[in-house]
């Protein structure tokens, strides 16, 4: 075993702490190189997919190793700041990196089959990996500047990915809408940054934190700025009021991309929102009128309620999942909404992070199952799913696991993460937030169980013919299912790590 302080005491230089991001970036470039050797050749697809998957898994492994070794954590000397404090590597960033990389790996392996007949596969994988790089950097951002740049690095490839099926009207429309709202929200975000800068004179989160207390004459500007930052995060996390894109984009986009966006991209939005709000605008030191916690409380309640109610009325499975992901954004927002000046903030935030981790598995899996179904050419509505359980039992079991887990039923990972979330909220004194969350959770069972019902209980139409059993998609779906299941018995290390690293933020 390597010495626990190895990564801080000189065994490895500090800059290696960004290794996960570097690995992803290099993988992306490597993909471009591979694609340049024989452009447009479809024999390349297996190579491309395996490079993307291997790169993501490598980054996952490195991030996991760092996390276990305690890189950037209190026990090895605290967060590592790099590049003029613009980036910070700490437990939280590594934890989120785990989510992004594993989702990217699952999406890459699944895309091998999904994209079988598509052109521009090299571009697809490199865009996925670049977006993952951006997300990793988002989780490491210690400055609003890097926050914005990395947010765009994550967003821009996503726009292209959503519109990837350029001859499919749905995909194009989804890409357009995602892009329009994304561009708008990034403009709002940039303006918010400029206002925060105007009020505080710095873009570095710690310096902003030091300046906000004295910025009382600019409190109005600061308040508007913070509100606009919130808008930017709301877009990335698909929370109210910038959530409109989500159903459209997820429905229209290629299903692996929907999986990627709704899991990793959402987590990235939360990663950056957590850090920015907690680090730059510490509660208890803010001038009046910048009480962002209240805003998050409202957003959390509205988001989860709206997402769940809208999901309940859908006929299209992908769209239902899209709305459910809005609902889950609402749950995760509790992590910010239940913060207090000196409560057990680390627990709440950590629970939210753990939920995002579990969500990364179950939601990715669910969308990848949709990808599998699309691959078979079966339709999109609940009725089209009828009887799949009899034809494809393994995948259907996996999907049932995802659905029950998303609903928060006990035997699966989603149960513990929701429990931890609500429990921490109650611990912080926000029992009403937990209550709203629990009621929404119960409601969500209704529409999740519709999928399960369609899969197993309804009878298939006689013409239902499934094609081959694609290896890549199956691997990814089963992997996600196993992950979702294992996160129940193995939830303790996850929540413990999450809460430890979250506590380090305060």
């Amino acid at each position: 075993m390597v010495d626990a302080v190895a990564l801080q005491s000189g065994a490895l230089p500090d800059w290696t702490a960004v290794a996960p991001a570097l690995i992803l970036a290099l993988t992306g470039l490597l993909l471009l190189v591979v694609d340049s050797i024989k452009p447009g050749e479809s024999e390349n697809s297996a190579l491309l997919a395996s490079v993307a998957t291997a790169g993501s898994l490598f980054a996952f492994g490195v991030a996991g190793w760092f996390l276990i070794q305690g890189t950037g954590q209190a026990r090895t000397g605290g967060a590592i700041t790099l590049y003029g404090d613009a980036l910070v590597v700490d437990g939280m960033s590594l934890f989120f990196t785990l989510i992004f990389t594993i989702v990217a790996a699952m999406v890459s392996i699944a895309s091998l089959d999904y994209l079988a007949d598509q052109e521009y596969q090299g571009e697809f994988y490199s865009l996925v990996v670049f977006a993952a790089t951006g997300m990793t950097l988002m989780s490491m951002s210690n400055s609003l500047a890097t926050a914005f740049v990395s947010l765009e690095l994550a967003s821009l490839p996503s726009y292209a990915l959503v519109a990837f099926l350029k001859k499919n009207r749905g995909s194009v429309e989804a890409g357009l809408k995602y892009f329009l709202i994304g561009a708008l929200s990034s403009a709002v975000f940039a303006f918010g940054i400029s206002l925060v800068y105007a009020a505080t004179g710095s873009l570095l989160l710690p310096e902003i934190a030091a300046a906000v207390g004295g910025a009382s004459e600019m409190a109005g500007v600061l308040g508007i700025g913070v509100l606009m930052l919130l808008g930017g995060f709301a877009f990335k996390t698909a929370s109210v009021p910038f959530h409109f894109w989500a159903p459209e984009a997820y429905e229209g986009a290629p299903a692996p991309v929907s999986a990627f966006l709704s899991s990793a991209s959402k987590a990235a939005g939360f990663a950056i929102a957590f850090r920015v709000f907690v680090e730059a605008f510490p509660l208890g030191q803010l001038p009046a009128g910048v009480e962002w916690v209240v805003a998050f409380q409202i957003l959390a309640v509205v988001t989860m309620t709206l997402g769940n109610f809208a999901a309940a009325t859908q006929e299209n499975v992908k769209r239902m999942l899209a709305y459910s992901s809005i609902g889950h954004a609402g749950y995760a927002l509790i992590g910010l909404a239940a913060l207090t000046a000196n409560g057990p903030n680390g627990d709440v935030l950590g629970a939210s992070m753990a939920h995002l981790m579990v969500y990364g598995f179950m939601n990715t899996g669910a969308f990848l199952f949709v990808a599998l179904v699309e691959h078979w050419g079966v339709g999109k509505t609940f009725e089209d799913y009828n009887g799949l359980g009899a034809r494809a039992p393994m995948a259907s079991v996996a999907m049932s696991v995802f659905m029950f887990s998303l609903a928060g039923l006990p035997p699966f990972g989603g149960f513990f993460s929701k429990y931890a979330l609500f429990y921490s909220a109650i611990e912080s004194g926000f029992w009403w937030l937990a209550a709203v969350g629990a009621i929404n959770s119960a409601l969500s069972l209704f529409y999740y169980s519709r999928v399960v019902k369609a899969l197993w209980i309804e009878d298939a139409s006689p013409s239902l013919e499934l094609g081959s059993k694609p290896v890549g998609l199956y691997t990814a779906v089963i992997f996600a299912a196993v992950g979702t299941l294992l996160l129940l018995p193995a939830f303790q290390p996850v929540i413990e790590t999450a809460q430890t690293v979250a506590t380090a933020l305060f």
Binding site: V149, E152, A160, A183, I193, P247, E248, R319
Partner: protein, 100 residues
């Protein structure tokens, strides 16, 4: 010396013009231009307050914002191209294959 509030008012005005454009225009290209306007409003703030605070952070970041705006336009134009090919126009309200 121009008081900093003026910059704020100016940038807010430009931001609002951009926002207005986004809310009222249906042409995707005009939408892009409006977004550029909003980003430039942010740039005005950044550069102006870079001067006010006496550090170059704002100016530097304004450069990054420009670069990102350009990248965004690159992607945006690509999407508008395929929009045109699929829907025969660049009206953002044309694309309604999915229900809202």
């Amino acid at each position: 010396m121009v008081p900093p509030e003026y910059y704020l008012v100016l940038s807010a005005a430009i931001f609002c013009i951009g926002l207005f454009g986004i809310l009222t225009r249906r042409n995707a290209l005009l939408f892009l231009m409006s977004v550029e306007l909003m980003l430039n409003a942010a740039n005005i703030n950044l550069v102006a307050f870079s001067y006010v605070w006496g550090n170059v952070t704002g100016q530097t970041f304004a450069l990054f914002t420009m670069a990102l705006a350009a990248a965004e336009v690159a992607i945006g134009l690509g999407i508008i191209m395929v929009l045109y090919r699929n829907f025969g126009g660049v009206d953002v309200t044309d694309a309604t294959t999915m229900k809202w």
